[in-house]
Amino acid sequence: MNCQSFENSLTDLARQHPLEATALADAQAHAGSCSSCALRLEEQNVLTAGFRSLVEQMRTIETPSHLESRLMEAFREGRRPPQRTQAPGRAWFAVAAVAAVLLVVFGVVALRLMWAPAPAPIARETVIETPVKNTAAPEVVPEVRPVSVARENPVRERRYSSRRTARHRVNQNRDPALEITQPSSATTAALEVTSEFMQLGDGSVGNLQEGAQVVRVEMPRYAMARFGLPVNMERYDERVKADIWLGADGLARAIRFVQ
């Protein structure tokens, strides 16, 4: 046995903890041959003796008798702890947690309301001079639905505006779909591909100076077929944008499709 092995069994030796016979014999032999380890063992034995004396002394110490009577009284009182008030701490924690959650919710709602854009007016623009193709068209005008194209879903717009950065918001204002509210913009014509105006019914197109208006609408794609335009039948039920030329009397005079 070397000093390291002796060190490992030093505590058990000093505590007189049961050891294997061979390990005990080796340790005792090493202590006989190594004065340093023998000294360490002696110190540990003294410490063990000190512990024994302390244990003997502590056995004479008794618990105060009033402690038992207090506990027995607590036991009798329906197992209620005497003079213990721990509940308020947890209650305050719960209240604080609820308040924090409410604060966050109100903050998010307020931010969304603050960043939400104002609702856009329904797209309505003054007619620009456009050549009208005088084609034979059916008398029945397909179902039309005036919409504000870009503002059809204001909730979605608010969501975008709250998530995107200011730069995105600036770019959003340049979205071609929003350009219809700016009829004189040159970029609108550049970004939208339109067909020529096709006359509706037998009436004359009328004079543009008489207060005619062009209204942006959506209609089923299959309505394009009535004007002789090619229709992808796989997408026949989708809606397509169109501009309706309204005369001063409010009747539709011409139509063009927008892509």
Partner: protein, 221 residues
Amino acid sequence: MNLELSFGLTGIMNDGGTLFLMNGRDDSSDNELLQQIRAGDEHAFATLYRRRHAGVYRFALQMSGSQALAEDVTQEVFMVLIRGTDLFDPARGSLSSFLYGVARNQTLRRLHRDRFFVPLSGNDDSELDHTSLSKPLDELARTETIESVRKAVLSLPERYREVVVLCELEEMSYAETAAALGCAIGTVRSRLHRARLLLTDKLRPAESQDEAAVKTARCFA
């Protein structure tokens, strides 16, 4: 107050004047007593308290050196049993280990909470001072030795102190100590070994410490 009654019965009267009758050799196991406590048996609680309170109190006292703290901790440990015995799982260890574990947690909590406070009287140590001027010199020397050991134990870091108190002063086995502290037996052994080395360093006379520092160099025999 212990009373000897007729028919071989023993009675214990508490401060409130309530008399508890005992059959003199109540050898019910801890688990049996716990079941009776669950059923609201006051006598079972009193029996269990008398069986286990001394160890809990000594542990808290030796860990803290304060009788007031030890008293509070002992009360709190048994209040855990009064509130409900569901926390104790017999599969995880004995009730004794469980009670020591609760006592350990309560003691450490109190020590951490009170670490910024200094007792006004500063005589907390004197609570345990059993020195008497009338004792002979050898007894006085022995008492001083005990006192120095106690102070040395109190000066140990908590993780070493609790192992020394349980293994050496409460004479618990490594396994029981490990169950009470919630750690491995190997951890208990290594901490106890380290704690004993620290204690021998603390208890070594000052004049011989420098010399011993040289002597502790390892030999290669």
